[in-house]
Symmetry: C2
Subunit: 344 residues, 2 copies
DNA sequence: TGCATCGATGTTTACGTCAACATCGACCGC
DNA sequence: GCGGTCGATGTTGACGTAAACATCGATGCA
């Protein structure tokens, strides 16, 4: 960006001094009223309050941040909000942060190739947030050339232990085991898997857990079909599966891909769940209304968000972090897309 | 919130003075280097840059904001991110703002009943953003008791002309007309409508446009079924519709409700599109993979987001706003959920 | 040579807030 | 009545930055 020559002439709002003058007190007394200190005479307080209202005083948070050395704001790094899980987590994070009195600074990584070119990421290159929650897979961050300032408190919402930062996430392995065992318990000989992208740690966790569950049960492990979380990729994978009469049970790594699988099966005339059972992962609101309603793994995004914020604020205020990853348990939600295999 | 007694002892980062001392120059020269002014000797600049790196200098945005009287940050008021449209718009807004060098402050309205109780909304009660984009229906804002500070630039993304603020939104009326006419053109005698909640202006616009289109074509206007944007509410409405053999064409005010309608029709054994045609609104990524793939109205959220940001920044920098509402056109996307009515 | 010009750099100051310290009057107990 | 205490309020200074102004040496031109 070239030097910004627009001289933004900004009429500054009224400051404490203005209020003080009008109320006939010192600025410090205004400060005390603004911060609800109790050592101010009731009459004085009323006068100050009235003066504030009259001039439309609003405290200047920049001055406050400068004075106090903290911003009461946390940055949240996201890639795209299109992903269901990210959105839900962000929602929960925002709610939790707000309750704790922290503002949310949204830091979108626009493009994996942005590198240093667009330094849209300047918010991190300068002091503006007290800490950061990373809601994208770390390799994306690396590829975007984003580097986190040293000493900045960070919490990662992801499923790799490769980070030096505290981690909070759903218990991916437990969820995938739940899904796979549900299908095996119904009597299916084995379970096929439509996986998330290989670059995703969460996808990797789910895939490995599915595989482990199968081998522990002595089941054959079919080849993995790789998707990229989108319904389209699920549809592509589903077309393969639908063409294979051996397939009776599918575990898709998220609900969107499961939706694509369902469509492919319908197109091929394979009935769900009579011919093929399907399980998803996430439990989006819509999943209950897929056709047929989808059996899936419920993630507790609210807990993930809240725990992330709590961990970050603790890190900010205490300066220390607990390094044990937090794994939020998931739950199996059984609907109509799963049934015992049809007996030949 | 009671007086926060936690004395957050925060080690402040290095400032310009530290860099200046190390580089053997004045603070002002450091400032010039930090702001990429060209009137600094190359050798000096290198020395300063090196010093910055050595001490790990990061400009303090609070001090900057205080000095410059602006924050380069815009607030975005959202209710919940669960809604598909809000999320997509937020995504676009964040991208556009970032490109323009503005940060995003997410301001979640946690509860319609929060009133003054939780003043989690403090970010607006103080100077911390240069302007605000409202992504929720205004009545929700009113009910939450949120009052916008006077003089703060605001842009509303909604479809009512009742505001004093600039408005950007998809052209709801045009989209609803597109949907309704598509069904009529296929030969259906009339079109039933599953509406969004009565409190939503966007829902109102779509409903009225649907009605107008029908009357203009001389078609009977069936009673409206009210939903609340969720797939569940669409399902409830769909059960009514499925039970009525006269129904051959349905326009749902969003894709999620359309999904619920599809489910209800399937459950009742009514075939889509042979027995009943269904059109949605939004064009979520998933809609192409519903069963059958959903004919719907595509909203250009990217444009909505970008135009909102542009309008707001213009308002911030020029201090004036154009009051003509911006209506972003929508497009009909035809898939397999619509067909001519079955001839008796 | 002398003076104007210009570019590089330094000095001062104000932005708004709030902790720390200072002041001042009222009230208390003896 | 007097030292002491306490509560209400005022004064000072510092947080980090950058505009405005000041300084100083080099260069250009008559």
């Amino acid at each position: 960006m070239p030097t910004d020559e627009t001289p933004v002439r900004r009429r500054r709002g009224p400051s404490m001094a203005d209020v003080a003058r009008l109320a006939g007190v010192s600025g410090q007394t205004v400060s005390r009223v603004a911060n609800e200190r109790h050592n101010v005479d009731a009459a004085t307080r009323d006068r100050v309050l009235a003066a504030m209202r009259e001039v439309g005083y609003r405290p200047n948070s920049a001055a406050r941040a400068l004075r106090n050395g903290q911003f009461r704001s946390i940055g949240v790094i996201v890639f795209e909000l299109s992903s269901f899980g990210t959105t839900r987590t962000l929602d929960a994070v925002a709610a939790a942060a707000t309750v704790s009195g922290y503002a949310i600074n949204l830091l979108p990584v626009l493009d994996v190739n942005q590198r240093a070119v667009t330094n849209a990421f300047s918010r991190l290159g300068e002091q503006a947030v007290d800490g950061v929650i990373i809601l994208i897979e770390a390799h994306t961050l690396d590829e975007a050339g984003v580097q986190l300032p040293e000493g900045l408190p960070v919490v990662v919402v992801d499923s790799s232990a490769h980070y030096d930062y505290p981690i909070v996430d759903s218990n991916q392995a437990q969820g995938a085991r739940l899904a796979t065992e549900h299908l095996l318990d119904l009597g299916h000989e084995t379970v096929w898997h439509v996986s998330g992208p290989p670059t995703s740690f969460a996808a990797d966790r789910r895939r490995r857990s599915w595989e482990l569950t199968l081998t522990q049960r002595g089941c054959e492990v079919p080849p993995v079909l790789n998707g990229d979380w989108t319904a389209s990729s699920g549809y592509e994978a589903g077309r393969m599966l639908a063409a294979n009469p051996d397939v009776t049970a599918v575990f898709a790594a998220n609900d969107q891909m499961a939706l694509g699988v369902l469509r492919a099966l319908h197109e091929r005339g394979r009935v769900v769940p009579d011919d093929v059972s399907v399980v998803g992962f996430d439990d989006m609101e819509e999943s209950a209304h897929f056709w047929p309603p989808l059996t899936t793994i419920l993630q507790n995004f609210v807990d993930v968000g809240r725990l992330s914020v709590d961990a970050l604020i603790h890190e900010i205020q205490a300066g220390e972090h607990h390094h044990d990853p937090v794994a939020v348990p998931t739950k199996l939600v059984v609907r109509s897309s799963t049934a015992p295999p049809r007996r030949p």
